[in-house]
Point group: C2
Amino acid sequence: MGASYSMKGVPLVQTAQIMDQNAVEPPQHNQSLRALAHLGPGHAVSQQIFEMIGHSRFFSDFTRSDIELLARGMQIYRAEVGQALIREGEVDDYMLLIIEGQVEIVKRDRRDMQQPMTRVGPGATLGEMSMIDGEPRFATCTAVVPTTFAALSRDGMVKLILEEPSLGAKILIKLVTLLSARLRQTSHNLLHYMEQR
Amino acid sequence: MGASYSMKGVPLVQTAQIMDQNAVEPPQHNQSLRALAHLGPGHAVSQQIFEMIGHSRFFSDFTRSDIELLARGMQIYRAEVGQALIREGEVDDYMLLIIEGQVEIVKRDRRDMQQPMTRVGPGATLGEMSMIDGEPRFATCTAVVPTTFAALSRDGMVKLILEEPSLGAKILIKLVTLLSARLRQTSHNLLHYMEQR
């Protein structure tokens, strides 16, 4: 327990193997989160998370006890206007759930200009790809109003999968469903652009 | 057991709930598969599946016993040249693993012409999106040489998750990783086209 190495940049699949073998609890190393106000562990706001599930496709069929277990592995942060929750290019390992506020997603174009892509609000999840694969962040997510969110790190996710396998499966099925929906949408958009050429 | 209703078109997340509650084993309803030669259940070729894991990113860290458990839930089919393994627009619920052969992926464009997208060979997995979300197939997959493949239906996947939770989690982590990689690649391609306008 409490080993001093980091699994930053190690994708979900290897983290699961390493943690399964060694049962260590590695420290958190998340640059963007360290710059934000840390409001405490998730269980303090599990009631709030539970109440907002109506807004969230991600948690819509989670029970109260599911949310409580999940909230134990989450940390709550607050970003002020203009602060980044996630920064394009950084190597970080958490996904996040917006509890309150609004976030703009921007991506640098070829001329290094920040191009706004979309805005999301309470109930939206962000950052799943890097949580899963350990690759650098694809885009930057910035608070457009003061924003409270819950962060779940890769280690937190792995711990859940190992210690609460049935809740772990539920979350993994949700992630698979979410990624599949985004992949379908993105593929449709890509075809649209390809056909216009 | 052996209830007579179909869960075709019911996404993975609901199928898991229904099967968990009722423990039924619904029948298979897959149009394209019915047109192909059925070579038998997967466990007969688990040795072959195990031997080809070197080619497959999907199964690269699965143990021999993982593969045997997984193969029990799979059915093996053979498609002759020109036969479709998956047809765009159909509602089907299986994903598949190519054991031997080569498959071309084509998609109808706005003028209803079949546009070739890519070719894949042994070790590749196809059809995960519809297995997960129950939406119609995104593209058609056709054998360009005689092709043997293993099919895993949504019910087979749910059975695995419920009966072998640790292998189920391993497969779900693989799926999440695969979808995340495809989403990253597709998003990059989309940006490339958007920036050229």
